[in-house]
Amino acid sequence: MFISRFYRQGAHTIKNLVKAPALNPRTSYSPVVYNQSIGALKHEFFSSTTAKQDSEDGNEENEKINVTFVDKEGDETLIKVPIGMSMLEAAHENDIDLEGACEGSLACSTCHVIVMDMEQYNKLPDPSDEENDMLDLAFGLTETSRLGCQIIAKSELEGLRLAIPAATRNFAVDGFKPKPH
């Protein structure tokens, strides 16, 4: 727990360094989204802290939603995720085998998950250009694919079901051929 938080903060530090205006000037090609992605990450960080403080006050049930992960073998794990926490973070705190090579800094596609219910998928904010850039490279992309680090728990998402794609099969049989989206 301590270690994962430590690394995450490390990732944030690096991200903020890079996203500093002087180093990565904003342009017409990546306009507002940019801010949104930083905003989302900050939001995630602060609100998960808030959720923790609240839960200490005894409002635990109100502050968490039920999320089910379905792994590559089809086995299900039900976890409780505090409002404001990303699915990547929640998966790691619950020992769910979801990769997270860039630790939530939107630089890889390894935390790719498939939202199993279209209705739930539609409740999510649209992916940013940056998330779409990474989803381009995800294995076994589907209509309801998202990055786990970009899905933030909120009360409307109660009962969310997420599948971890069984990419090995795709890889072995077809090589890398993302499904048309």
């Binding site: 690096i14 090609y29 850039d133 990419a167 795709n170």
Partner: protein
């Protein structure tokens, strides 16, 4: 021969021990090597894994391939470091298979060997003039700015001309173009090698041409890298409107490929943005439908590059087959002082290893090495596996290796379950290898020695307001490692 006998002896002396683990050696410590090790350790509680690398530093292309201005992509190093710190895993650097130790020796020392040493050479164009000075493989240029010891002294001339031509339009091509064009004040805050930063600060290159044989629909880059280069401050983008006209075959390609469609959209937006040219401003020219015909020598500088001759192409093929570029016999020259060939990497063979020279990979089925390059012959090399670029060719991203390693490890697991690999056949493993290397005066760099290098690089970087100042020679690296 003497050393071989010695090996036999070491082998024998170890066979008296009981309950020894299965010993696997992974060659190469890039993403393919580390993902392989991680998956092996996870799948088998009684397997020990040693990862060896020819460099004193781990992480392969995460250190020497990923661009310095992509620090988020390098975060995966945290995960790899945790693997290296696993008590059943060891990183052993500065060990080169082929010179420090041979592959047959390694296979004698371990129950299994997984080769994951990537692709450290380059495809060539095979056109006249390719031997002129000022022409480099993009890989060499990347290694140079990333502080790889093998390209420390590359010293590309960035001051004799205002123009560089990059052949290829993949992500590596975009990376090198971005490094040439990005304001150096921005690069100064990355972990770019200081020798490269100094050269780039004095660079006179203002115009970069990115040349592709085919059109904007077929450009091999991905949206992230394209978005990034199009967004460089004060950079004027040149794309010919006429090149963006699509054919029905192009439309089908885009319909079937999300990346192609998104890349095309970004390029289309860039052309409509319509920048006015200002003298002295940096320019990026996308040159579609042209292939390199020859390199021409400079008129006034003997042996040096003067220009690149390109032939206009047209696409042949329809929706049912891949569209290919064919020459039209129409040529144009671009004067330049630097040319970078970004047309693909190539793996290098080592002695005692089956190798498919045509494909540039080790012949394999799902990661099991085939004894013969022809796939019709299904004879496997017992206990020999391959992963990453050496297995499937030099394409894909870091995460591709995740799935690639899963596939290779499935083969290893199957062989363990079948008893093909068994710890009953006791191997000397790490201890035996270290003794042999010691007898040959090879100084190895274990992970805790790399951590000293890591700390020193970060300390030096801190002095310059950089995340890291890479030590770029073997001597410096070994000196700090030995402290």
């Amino acid at each position: 021969m003497a050393s071989f006998l010695k090996l036999r002896w070491i082998s024998k002396s170890f066979s008296t021990l009981s309950s020894t683990p299965l010993r696997i050696c992974v060659v190469g410590s890039g993403p393919a090597g580390f993902y392989t090790a991680e998956k092996l350790l996870k799948a088998h509680g009684s397997v020990d894994v040693d990862i060896i690398d020819r460099l004193p530093t781990p992480f392969g292309l995460v250190r020497s391939g990923v661009a310095p201005d992509h620090p988020e992509t390098k975060i995966v190093i945290n995960q790899f470091s945790r693997v290296a710190q696993n008590e059943r895993c060891s990183f052993i650097g500065n060990v080169s298979v082929g010179s420090s130790i041979t592959l047959p020796e390694l296979r004698e020392m371990y129950n299994g060997v997984v080769l994951a040493y990537g692709a450290e050479s380059d495809r060539s164009l095979g056109i006249p003039g390719e031997e002129l000075a000022d022409i480099y493989a993009a890989r060499e240029f990347v290694w140079w700015y990333n502080g790889h010891p093998d390209c420390r002294n590359l010293a590309p001339d960035l001051k004799s001309s205002d123009t560089a031509v990059i052949l290829g339009q993949g992500n590596v091509a975009l990376d090198v173009a971005r490094i040439l064009l990005r304001p150096t004040a921005e690069l100064a805050r990355t972990d770019i090698a200081s020798h490269a930063l100094a050269a780039l600060e004095e660079s006179t290159i203002r115009k970069v041409y990115l040349v592709g044989r085919r059109g904007p629909v077929q450009a091999a880059c991905t949206a992230k890298e394209l978005r990034e280069i199009l967004g460089i401050k004060d950079l004027v983008i040149h794309i010919k409107q006429a090149d963006l006209v699509t054919t029905p075959a192009d439309e089908i390609e885009m319909k079937n490929n999300r990346i192609r469609r998104r890349v095309y959209e970004l390029l289309s937006k860039a052309v409509t943005a319509g920048h006015a040219s200002v003298p002295g401003q940096r320019e990026l020219h996308f040159v579609f439908f042209h292939k390199p015909d020859r390199f021409l020598e400079s008129d006034d500088r003997s042996g040096r590059l003067g220009s690149v001759r390109l032939e206009k192409t047209t696409l042949k093929g329809d929706e049912s087959m891949k569209q290919v570029a064919v020459g039209t016999g129409v040529y144009k020259d671009i004067s330049c002082g630097l040319a970078l060939k970004s047309i693909g990497y190539k793996s290098v063979a080592i002695d005692g290893l089956p190798f498919d020279n045509y494909k540039g990979i080790v012949p394999n089925l799902g990661g099991r090495v085939l004894a013969n390059a022809s796939l019709g012959d299904m004879q496997y090399e017992t206990g020999l596996y391959v992963c990453g670029w050496l297995k499937r060719g030099p394409t894909g991203i870091i995460a591709t290796n995740l799935y690639c390693a899963e596939e290779t490890i499935a083969c290893v697991s199957e062989d363990i379950n079948k008893g093909v690999l068994s710890s009953k056949s006791v191997k000397p493993g790490r201890k035996g290898m270290l003794e042999l290397l010691d007898s040959r005066n090879t100084r190895v760099v274990p992970f805790d020695a790399w951590e000293k290098i890591d700390l020193e690089e970060k300390r030096l970087g801190n002095l310059k307001n950089k995340p890291r100042e890479k030590l770029a020679t073997r001597e410096e690296l070994l000196k700090i490692a030995g402290k």
